[in-house]
């Protein structure tokens, strides 16, 4: 990369990843006062730089090992430390690249859905991305809470400006999300009482002698429940379908893939970075509980998805099931499944972002997003639907795509562990996904209904091609291409990044 000639920039990358979107976000309203249109390139520039620095940081980690960056040059554990390792390096690239694509994709839909509000939308959008990046990059448990709140507050605002009923959905999310954040904060407070430290690495060093302590056990329980609310783990998912269905298209495409996945990352970080793996396996039966929760989430998510008539709402329940994959994969507590879970995070970010992008394009054309709106879409929007089909095949888990490989690792992990019920859950959910998406393909090709053809119609009546605007189509095509590439290069991804990202159990 170009940046390598400037060692100082590479050294500062962890700070710049956060500071650039933050400062650009703060100046967005001021830019908007001068020229409203300038905010769009302004936002793209911020996200482009964030992506560039994320890639630089990940490359640096792959070459020279874990990066530690001291905020204000205060030594940890007193100061806040940013740590980039293989796991969050990968997450940083995923988040910033997704945000960049969604920003390009969202231009048209935001102009259509939120006329006059673009400036503030872009400001909060950047704050949202800052929140996600901050949660992932920080090595300090309290700093993580602060970024969790930045991301959540920005999310509440972005969801509330959606269609009818969005403020109510957002309000429910606020209540649930605040309880989750409070639990997380309480957990940090408990740990701080017994250890006097907030730095994750320091906590990991100080905690093992205290594993018997009831305070630590309580803190652990608060951590898990708090994060489970944020990641919408069944039965704490009730806020998710409404919130993400009613959010503006560009918001669903950004928040729906990232918020849940970032929360799964936080869970992995707490299970293996703050507590030792031995704690959650042998001291408390956390892994078993997570496995059961994951299995239940997969079954219920899949069944509830079947019952939906609205495309976005169906996707929301698919997310609930997908969260079950990852949580269950972590709960299996063996190396293969854990690698599968992390690989699935990467795949799922791309897949759900892509699917919500399709929902946004349908909404852009039809002004609603029911399953029936897909009628004749294969004729009207062949490129959009080709990308949609690719991503749908990946969600189902058809071989050349990324979704197959992460499911394969999860299956192998489950087989090693002898957890047949998790295997059954995975297969059941894949079959349900087949039904879900082939139903849409059927509607899209116009196979069902009107068999008699209306009078005068000769069946093959030409439907004019009305493709989505290029600025929406290209990001979607990139997502579809990425999911195929993730499938082809899954070995490289596992070998170069993920195998160092998760502990060997």
């Amino acid at each position: 990369m170009i940046l390598e000639q400037f060692p100082f920039l590479v050294h500062s990358a962890p700070a710049l990843i956060i500071v650039i979107p933050l400062m650009f976000a703060l100046l967005t309203p001021v830019i908007g006062l001068i020229r409203r249109e300038w905010t769009f390139p302004w936002m793209l520039l911020a996200l482009l730089l964030a992506t560039l620095f994320s890639v630089t940081a990940l490359q640096d980690v792959m070459r020279n090992g874990v990066i530690h960056y001291r905020m204000g040059n205060w030594e940890p554990p007193w100061g806040i430390e940013y740590v980039v390792d293989h796991l969050n390096g990968l997450m940083l690239v995923l988040i910033s690249a997704t945000a960049l694509l969604v920003a390009v994709y969202g231009k048209k839909s935001v102009e259509q859905e939120l006329p006059g509000k673009e400036v503030y939308f872009r400001c909060i959008f950047l704050l949202q991305v800052t929140g996600f990046l901050g949660i992932v990059i920080t090595g300090d448990a309290f700093n993580l809470y602060v970024f969790l709140e930045i991301a959540s507050l920005a999310g509440y605002a972005l969801i509330a400006i959606g269609e009818d009923g969005a403020p109510f959905a957002s309000f429910r999310y606020i209540i649930m999300g605040t309880i989750g954040a409070c639990f997380y904060l309480l957990a940090i407070g408990y740990l701080y009482i017994v250890t006097g430290s907030l730095n994750m690495a320091d906590l990991a060093r100080l905690l093992p002698p205290l594993y018997g302590s009831k305070v630590v056990l309580t803190a652990f329980a608060f951590f898990m429940v708090g994060i489970a609310i944020k990641m919408a783990l069944f039965p704490l998912h009730v806020w998710l379908p409404d919130a993400y269905t009613k959010a503006p298209s560009a918001v669903s495409a950004l928040v729906a893939p990232l918020m849940t996945k970032v929360s799964v990352y936080v869970m992995i970080r707490i299970l293996f970075g703050v507590f030792a793996p031995s704690f959650s396996i042998s001291v408390v039966p956390a892994m078993k509980i997570l496995l059961v929760a994951g299995i239940v989430a997969i079954f219920t998510g899949a069944i509830l998805a079947l019952a939906q008539k609205d495309f976005k709402r169906m996707l929301c329940y698919i997310i609930v099931a997908e969260v079950g994959y990852m949580v269950g994969g972590v709960g299996l507590a063996n190396t293969t499944a854990l690698r599968g879970a992390v690989l699935h995070i990467a795949n799922d970010v791309v897949m759900t972002a892509g699917l919500f992008a399709v929902a946004g394009i349908i909404n852009y054309k039809m002004r609603e997003h029911r399953l029936d709106d897909f009628k004749d879409m294969f004729k009207r929007m062949p490129f959009t639907m080709a990308a949609f089909a690719t991503i749908a095949l990946s969600i189902i888990g058809v071989p050349p795509t990324g979704g197959f490989f992460s499911k394969w690792y999860l299956l192998q992990g489950a087989l090693q562990e002898g957890s047949w019920i998790f295997v059954a859950a995975l297969l059941f959910s894949s079959l349900v996904n087949v039904v879900l998406f082939f139903r849409i393909f059927e509607i899209g090709y116009g196979f069902h209904g009107d068999h008699g053809h209306s009078a005068g119609g000769d069946g093959g009546e030409a439907v004019a091609i009305r493709e989505a605007p290029l600025s929406m189509l290209v990001p979607l095509m990139i997502a579809a291409a990425t999911i195929v590439l993730l499938g082809f290069y899954n070995q490289a991804l596992i070998g170069k990044i993920i195998q160092y990202a998760v502990p060997v159990l």
Binding site: M23, L26, L27, P29, V30, L33, R70, M71, G72, N73
Partner: protein, 160 residues
């Protein structure tokens, strides 16, 4: 909706008090970095003085003193000063937020530079808190549509 205040006692007292409240707010901001007080508290006092002005005089009469655009600029720029001070340290080849690096441009020692760095952060925080408080007050009391704006919106709607 904020209506024009009619009570002459309230209006006169507020007019006399507001400059002192604002002066006190500035005092709290300027002393925040080494004694009790700070940007948030000072900003709240400044914001409260403007809210008092709006309550006593009504939005129509007081809007020239509290222009909405300026509030937007202040809330953005205030936090920008906060983050920008940290960023300046990065530009001076230090770590983010390492205010000791400001010694290079302030011609003082590291301890003084840290103190001045925090002062600049407090000023930024004060600006942002003041502006955001007043914006929230205006949003809640007017339901998001400022008096006068409504007619403008109707006018543009009619033109369209």
């Amino acid at each position: 909706m904020i209506y024009r205040g009619e009570d002459i006692i309230i209006r006169t007292i507020s007019r006399m008090l507001i400059p002192f409240i604002q002066l006190y707010g500035l005092y709290v901001i300027m002393h925040g970095h080494y004694s009790p007080g700070g940007g948030f508290q000072g900003g709240v006092i400044l914001g409260a003085s403007l809210i008092l002005l709006l309550l006593a005089y009504g939005y129509q009469d007081a809007k020239s003193r509290v222009p909405e655009k300026l509030l937007t600029v202040f809330s953005g720029v205030g936090v920008f000063i906060y983050a920008g001070t940290g960023f300046l340290c990065l530009v001076l080849l230090g770590n983010f937020l390492d205010y000791a690096m400001l010694a290079k441009i302030l011609h003082t020692d590291a301890a003084h530079a840290r103190s001045l760095g925090i002062l600049s952060v407090e000023i930024g925080v004060g600006m942002a808190v003041m502006a955001v408080m007043v914006s929230i007050f205006l949003d809640i009391s007017t339901g998001g549509v400022l008096p006068g704006e409504e007619e403008e919106k109707q006018k543009t709607a009619e033109e369209a």
